[in-house]
Symmetry: C2
Subunit: 106 residues, 2 copies
């Protein structure tokens, strides 16, 4: 049996703005995604309202999440938090290159 080893920090998106998602692992109950945010904000007025619980960690860079009640949560590399399903949130801002790892659980 041979194992496919890949690197999270390889093949990063080019450019200076936007957001890029890459699925790293997927099973019926779980999806693991690398998200690269380039000086990114969610569109004004947009809220994620997910049907999955999510656990998210910042692995490079930093940013801030905004919640529907107005709370702003600042995140730096290594910071993680759990986002229960249907907790509305958006990306308020990120650094020039922020790498997130997100685990979505159905």
């Amino acid at each position: 049996m041979s194992f496919a080893v890949k690197n999270l920090f390889a093949n990063l998106p080019a450019g200076t703005s936007g957001e890029d998602s890459l699925t790293l692992f997927e099973s019926p109950n779980v999806k693991i995604t690398r998200i690269v945010s380039l000086a990114y904000s969610s569109p004004a007025g947009f809220w994620y309202d997910q049907t999955e619980d999510e656990w998210v960690i910042v692995l490079r860079g930093g940013g801030a999440l905004e919640f529907a009640d107005g709370e702003i949560v600042e995140l730096k590399a290594g910071d993680y938090l759990a986002l229960p399903r249907h907790v509305k949130h958006r990306v308020a801002r990120t650094s020039a290159e922020t790498i997130w790892l997100a685990v979505q659980v159905t």
Copy 2:
């Protein structure tokens, strides 16, 4: 609603040997664990033979996994791989401080 943000690189174990596990997230189908390996090897002859699929990434340091067929997989920071359930493996070695993130999926 207030969110508990923690940092993966905080409260690392002291010492120069051994292995430390910390549960970061747990649901009926998924468990996310930080494992800190300090110049660690699994005991000679020991094999993990897990009933869960596992996705694992090295976030700091590096090491090598050994598989029952003799394959050795070297891992450095950022490297990730999926370990299907019941694929027997052990930690062959790690650097002085290796931080793994493991997602176990039932």
